[in-house]
Structure formats: C-alpha cells, structure tokens
C-alpha cells in the first residue's frame, strides 16, 4: 500500500457518502479556496472517484499525490500547482 511521506495535508474534506459528482465537486471547490502549494485531501466512498479525481487533477494541471485506500473509502491527495 502506498504511503504519504514528507507531505503534510493542509486541508482534508470528508466527502464520504456523497455521490458522483459530489466528491469531485468538493475537490474543485476545495482547491479553488486554497493558496498555491497547499495539499488537499478528499475522502470519498464513491467508486467513480478512482478515475474521475485523477482525470480532473491532470486536466486542471495540479499535482496528483495519490490515492490511499482506507476501510470503505479512499483518501485522494493533490497539491495545488497554480
């Protein structure tokens, strides 16, 4: 299982129980609200997030730091790049 090392999460949004496109919307709003360089984590239990969230991060040209599976949900981590 991958682990986050040397990265501190500045903000974590709990979007568990929210459905497509909810977690992605939370991520987009969250990134907008943070200063450049911040690390944001979104917790999602929506199976669509596994592809949707990395696809958006790539499209929006932020840094995707990975998906970290937990019990019943996944923590998606990104750094605001611009």
């Amino acid at each position: 299982m991958p682990e986050l090392t040397n990265v501190s999460i500045d903000k974590e949004i709990d979007a568990r129980g929210s459905f497509c496109p909810g977690p992605l919307m939370e991520l987009i709003r969250g990134i907008k609200a943070l200063p450049v360089g911040s690390v944001l984590a979104v917790l999602s239990s929506d199976p669509g997030s596994a592809r949707d969230i990395p696809a958006w991060i790539q499209k929006a040209r932020h840094d995707y730091l990975g998906a970290f599976p937990e019990q019943g949900y996944t923590r998606f981590v990104a750094r605001k790049a611009h």
Binding site: S18, F19, P21, I28
Partner: protein
C-alpha cells in the same frame, strides 16, 4: 477554440434532469464549454420554483418513482437543480431557453429560474452545437 458540449434537454422528469445535470457538471469540471438548450418539458421544469415540487419520473419506469425519490432523499443525492448551479459555479455553463417553447407556454425570461442565461432559437443553438465535440439529446 474551446471544446464544447451541447445538451438538448427536452425531458422534464427528475431522472432525466438528474442525468443531464450530472453530464453538465462533468463537462464543466473537465474544462468544456457547456451549453444547455431547454425545450418543451425541459423548459417547463425550469419555470420558477417548479423544481421544488417536481416528482415526475419517466413513464416507462413510473413504478420505481417512490423508491427512487425515497433513496435520493435518504442518500442525500444532490438535486438536479443543485448540480446545474454547481456546474455553473465551477465552469463555463450557459443555459438557454427555447424561444418557441416560451411562446407556446406563454413564458417570459423572468418566469424562469435565474440560472437560465438567455432565450435563443434553434438555429443559433445548432450553429453553436455544430462546432461542439459532444451533443446529447435528453
């Protein structure tokens, strides 16, 4: 040229409006210019405050309506109206009302939800949709 997604929303049932609103959100999230053309029942659904009482679902799955509504409430699925508002907030989304339907139903722009951007005719919509990458009729 920016990539564009055009949605023709003809249906006014909650199930189809939900699908349309999620597609609009996805398009907006992925950086596409999204244009929504509301016509007939799709436009009726955007009449001011109509969404608050609209519980209709597609006729062919009418028997599922109570269960669907119950599940949507229980699981706190955002309403189609919330999705459209969210899509507009994160991206470039415009919602147009079909002028012919406006005429037919005796509507004015002020009778519609404020998220409806403007009134347009079919020719203008087609002219813009022909440059698009995705066009869907819902």
């Amino acid at each position: 040229m920016q990539e564009r997604m055009s949605l023709i929303v003809f249906s006014g049932t909650v199930d189809k409006l939900l699908a349309a609103s999620i597609l609009a959100t996805g398009g907006a999230a992925m950086g596409l210019e999204v244009e929504v053309f509301l016509t007939t029942w799709g436009l009726e659904a955007f009449r001011k405050d109509n969404y608050k009482t609209n519980m209709r679902v597609s006729k062919d799955f009418e028997d599922y309506a109570p269960v669907m509504m119950e599940q949507m409430m229980a699981k706190k699925v955002p309403s189609w109206m919330e999705n459209f508002k969210g899509a507009m907030e994160i991206g470039d989304v415009k919602i147009y009302a079909c002028s012919m339907t406006m005429e037919l139903f005796g509507m004015k722009l002020e009778d519609l939800e404020p998220i409806v951007t403007d009134v347009t005719g079919v020719a203008t919509f087609v002219e813009r949709a022909k440059e698009g990458r995705i066009t869907l009729f819902i």
